[in-house]
Symmetry: C2
Subunit: 155 residues, 2 copies
């Protein structure tokens, strides 16, 4: 277990790395993202203080995600120990959350995705640039801007 201090923008893990670690965020804000074959960046998740960030790849396979710091951050790096005190209920909870996200992605409009983001990450809306929120939602910054305009008109 190792403590790591990160500068904003610093990369913690690259796609293709083996033996990816688990990061417990003590302060700051991380993101993980994939880069498609067309070169587009898709943010997979955010992790503010108190959250866990990890690629879900098995340790014998290369990981799929990049992880970097959106703000200066402090994280604890842990090994993914296969055996041992692996918290099975926590793994199942992760599966459940992912499953819900898949279901959501299949049916939801840009507006609904934005509402879902707000519900999932209420504390970080102000700390993340719009274009990253758009990337997380899977829409363009222009589309997100339109969604926000419509929302603010209604209230």
């Amino acid at each position: 277990m190792k403590k790591i201090a990160l500068k904003k923008g610093q990369i913690l893990q690259r796609k293709g790395d083996f033996n990816s670690k688990v990061y417990q965020v003590e302060g700051g804000l991380l993101r993980s993202y994939a880069i498609s074959d067309k070169g587009k960046e898709h943010i997979y998740m955010f992790a503010p203080e108190g959250w866990i960030m990890a690629d879900n790849a098995p340790p014998d396979e290369p990981c799929d995600l990049f992880i970097d710091a959106i703000e200066d951050s402090i994280v604890w790096q842990k090994e993914k120990d296969l055996q041992g005190e692996h918290d099975v209920p926590k793994l199942i909870k992760r599966l459940s959350v992912l499953q819900k996200r898949v279901i959501m992605l299949m049916g939801a409009s840009a507006l609904e995705r934005y509402e879902h983001f707000l519900a999932t990450y209420p504390e970080i809306v102000q700390r993340v640039p719009q274009k990253m929120i758009a990337s997380y939602l899977g829409v363009t910054p222009e589309a997100l801007s339109a969604v926000r305009r419509k929302r603010s008109q209604k209230e």
Copy 2:
């Protein structure tokens, strides 16, 4: 561990059930699906013989998915034992697959999704009605029909 014989169309699990089970498919074909608040059906996965089918909900939470039989089927029903011989590497593998699917869903066109489906389930294309494939891909049957037409023209 209990053996269950299912008729085509028979429902094995409903959304909202607690303590959902794990099903090992010995023969036939199952599907799991969600129904959105607008009443639309989204197929989450298929499970032909040899596959495992389960909702990923923790046992203390209601599950999200319906499971039913696309063909007459035989399945083994197992409890989700929290403790005990839970296969952690297998759980991690499931996470990894789900993560890849999320990334795919965020960036892929209807054509790409169809290619992905063919790669994932090569053995069942003939056994599943088009409209269910469309539902799995998150597009309408009409859109799938157009994709298939384009593909066949090219080759």
